[in-house]
């Protein structure tokens, strides 16, 4: 589709705080983007949008569990609307707290909005809030979110979370995720080798070094690292030597997908 006709919705509630950075990133690439509070989404619906983002932050103070309250709100109030959105192969993206929301809402791992979550993002194994730059490896290129990336590429993107340790519901569900190509990003060493659980390369102790997952079709994705914090060169620790950071590649994938949508 003509990108001028496409539109992104960035959802927010009290405690969301990465919405504006995502908006700046998407608009920089030419995608019209609106930030909508959940109350506005309940009134307006999602039909006019092609990308829905659950951004980072501390939704509802992270009470109960990070992302739990917003996740259950999503599940109870916009379940069928979101199912239709996903069925139409529009894009749903969650970053950090947004990923936690998607897990708690049952949107991920499988994109089917199950009532009982099939995974968890638990307290970091380090027992610390981990705010650092990490390397993640693309496990599956050519998905809607990795359309600008090839399998095996290494990205440098920061994390900032206290509850990011991905735990699958069971050994079988981990195997399913791997076999169906739903593990999208894994924490890695600077040389590209798997982190193998080694701290701080795997900053939170995630099982199988999982940093991000998607559904089978790849149009629903959640990740702990923040690509919007590695979009412009000036956001990088090495300074302004490059115009853009690796995070831009993920947003670029979104744009490519929407242009073909």
């Amino acid at each position: 589709m003509d990108l001028r006709r496409a539109k992104a919705c960035i959802a927010r509630v009290g405690g969301t705080n990465c919405d504006l950075e995502v908006k700046v990133a998407l608009e920089h690439l030419g995608l019209k983007t609106e930030i909508l509070h959940m109350k506005q989404i309940l009134k307006r619906g999602l039909s006019e949008y092609h990308l829905l983002v659950f951004p980072g932050g501390f939704s509802y103070g992270d009470y109960v569990r990070a992302g739990a309250i917003w996740g259950k709100e999503v599940h109870s109030k916009i379940k069928s609307e979101l199912e239709a959105f996903i069925e139409e192969e529009k894009l749903v993206m969650g970053v950090c707290n947004g990923f936690q929301v998607m897990i708690e809402a049952g949107i991920l791992p499988n994109g089917e909005l199950v009532e009982v979550p099939k995974a968890a993002l638990a307290n970091n194994a380090s027992a610390k809030y981990e705010c650092r730059w990490v390397y993640i490896k693309v496990e599956r290129g050519e998905t809607p979110f990795t359309g600008d990336l090839g399998t095996g590429e290494l990205l440098k993107i920061p994390v900032g979370h206290g509850e990011g340790r991905f735990i699958p519901a069971s050994e079988e569900s981990l195997k399913e995720l791997i076999d169906e190509g739903c593990v999208l990003f894994r924490y890695a060493m600077p040389n590209g080798e798997a982190a193998g659980g080694r701290y701080p390369y795997n900053p939170n102790g995630s099982v199988y070094d999982i940093a991000g997952i998607c559904n089978g079709k790849g149009n629903v994705m959640g990740m702990m690292p923040h690509p919007e914090r590695a979009f412009f060169g000036w956001q990088l620790p090495e300074g302004r030597s490059a115009p853009y950071g690796d995070g831009k590649r993920i947003f670029q994938g979104i744009i490519k997908y929407l242009q073909k949508y």
């Binding site: 259950k72 979550p117 995974a119 307290n123 970091n124 027992a127 735990i167 102790g205």
Partner: protein, 84 residues
């Protein structure tokens, strides 16, 4: 009134508990381990203990616990609010 305790399943790594145990040991307490749990005391309308129990169980399933990592324990507190 019901008391709901949500705690990590046994065998699941509890970083908060481990750090707390270390801190207690540093203070001289003979601590072997600590597991951290969260307690919710909920006042609710229920006309029987069974109803209070099943409602609390539903609360855990729908919000308070994530079955991937959490166990929960419910105690109906008789005579403290409610209509039991």
């Amino acid at each position: 009134m019901v008391r709901i305790e949500v705690k990590l399943k046994s065998g699941h790594f509890d970083p908060e508990g481990d750090v707390t145990a270390k801190s207690l040991r540093d203070l001289g307490f003979p601590v072997n381990s600590v597991r951290v749990s969260k307690v919710y005391t909920v006042e609710l309308d229920a006309n029987s203990r069974e109803k209070a129990m099943s409602t609390a169980r539903d609360m855990c399933r729908k919000l308070l616990a994530n079955p991937t990592k959490d166990d929960f324990f419910i105690e109906v507190l008789a005579g403290e609010g409610g209509t039991d």
